[in-house]
Amino acid sequence: MVVLALRAGVLGQLVRVSLLLTMPIAVSVVLVSVFTRAGTTVLFAIGPFDATVEGVDFAAQTLVRLFAISLSIGLFLMTTDPRAFVFDLERRGVSPRVAFVAVATIEAVPALVERAGVIGESQRARGLDTEGSVRARLRGVLPLIGPVIIGALTDVEERSLALESRAFSRPGRRHLLWAMPDRTWERWLRWALIALLVATAAARISGRI
């Protein structure tokens, strides 16, 4: 994974984002497992809580797992164009509607953030205090949420009308303009990885049971 990220030129960014994402969970996991996990070898004690070797061991394992999961999800999002991913899904037989909803959802996030910014501006211009006390800010939530939701809904309505005018609701398959470049070694690598995954899972299950 590190090699892949390095090749894609996103290693630094990937590690930063993954650390940032896992940090809040990591802190609680460490606190809870180090001090509350039952163990025989006590390292040190703070008040009624004993830190045990078993706890530290468990915490380290969990952290590595968490970090691995967040690294792989992060790597996927950073290196895969959501559009390419979804068009490829469609090529593999996923319905165009499902594919569209998937891309539109991913692509809608920046638009939503931008809209929230504009709405925030117009309410602040009406005297809504977003820089003041917590109470003042809470009072300002409704005038922000309402337009965000209503605006998003009307945009969706307009967009769906515009799409209808471009035969979006026509049933049946489409001939896609783009094919994902899919080289032979990539296909082999994919199968090999799937095989490895199955083998690992099988080994874990048989080893445990």
Binding site: E164, S165, R170, L177
Partner: protein, 269 residues
């Protein structure tokens, strides 16, 4: 030929109809302007003519809508899209938001039709060429100016090869440069034989572009005639429509016993 015959329309959840007894035909290659005060039913008329009302948004339609003599009642929406395209005010909400280039955006419609790739590509190129925006093909749709984005929207509709195009205030949200771009494109479109129904407040834009103009007032057609006659109709003000600058100015001159022909050389230059 697109025809509305005795058409009335009521939005879902509303008591009264918004359109009453509309008789309107749009002949092949004809360019018709629709004017009227706010809430006079112009946008509703666009939705009905393109089949979106009631096809997509529901509501109750009375009378008949025919395209090339075929009654379109109950036809699925995608059948409309190859016969009549509809464009709206805001280019941002009409772009699909799922494509990475203008070329892909314009190709989306033909692709939805299930056309072979070769034809999709050919139609896309032709639509971009018709509007003179070939050079935008590789650009990212969301990074275009308002005027450019609106041209891409119109190209996306053209790629469906409809014989009729309905445009609901296509320049309302554009700056003067964008308005000029779209105005020129509409003039160019007129030459391709596509019939256009254009809803607009800016009568200056319709002046010289349309052969016929229809005036709506409170959901009824109150005037339908040659563009020059309708734009010079003294009742336009009563219907909440601003006459084109050249007409208003001509009137102001005539009121002071000045020759309206004084302005003739300036208009259109």
């Amino acid at each position: 030929m697109l025809g509305l015959h005795g058409v009335g329309y009521r939005y879902a959840g509303y008591a009264g109809p918004v359109l009453h007894d509309i008789d309107l035909t749009l002949a092949d290659g004809e360019i018709v302007g629709v004017v009227g005060a706010n809430e006079s039913g112009k946008s509703t008329l666009s939705l009905v003519a393109s089949g979106l009302a009631p096809g997509s948004i529901g509501g109750g339609l009375s009378g008949t809508l025919t395209i090339d003599g075929v009654d379109m009642a109950g036809r699925p929406l995608h059948e409309f899209s190859t016969r009549v395209g509809i464009g709206f005010q805001n280019p941002a909400t009409q772009l699909s938001g799922v494509t990475g280039s203008v070329f892909e955006e314009v190709a989306l419609g033909p692709m939805n039709l299930g056309l072979p790739t070769r034809e999709t590509v050919e139609r896309t190129k032709a639509a971009l060429a018709t509007l003179g925006i070939d050079q935008l093909a590789e650009r990212e749709p969301r990074r275009l100016s308002g005027g450019q984005a609106q041209l891409v929207v119109i190209a996306s509709l053209l790629a469906m090869r409809p014989a009729h195009l309905v445009l609901d205030e296509p320049t309302a949200q554009l700056d003067p440069e964008g308005t000029r771009l779209v105005g020129e494109a509409l003039r160019g479109l007129a030459a391709t034989g596509t019939a256009l129904l254009i809803v607009e407040h800016k009568t200056d834009l319709l002046d010289g572009l349309c052969s016929r103009i229809v005036v709506l007032d409170a959901g009824r057609i109150v005037r339908d005639g040659p563009a020059d006659d309708v734009l010079a109709d003294p009742r336009l003000d009563d219907w909440g429509v601003d006459p084109p600058s050249r007409i208003r100015l001509g009137r102001a001159l005539a009121m002071r016993d000045l020759d309206p022909a004084l302005i003739a050389g300036v208009v259109g230059s």
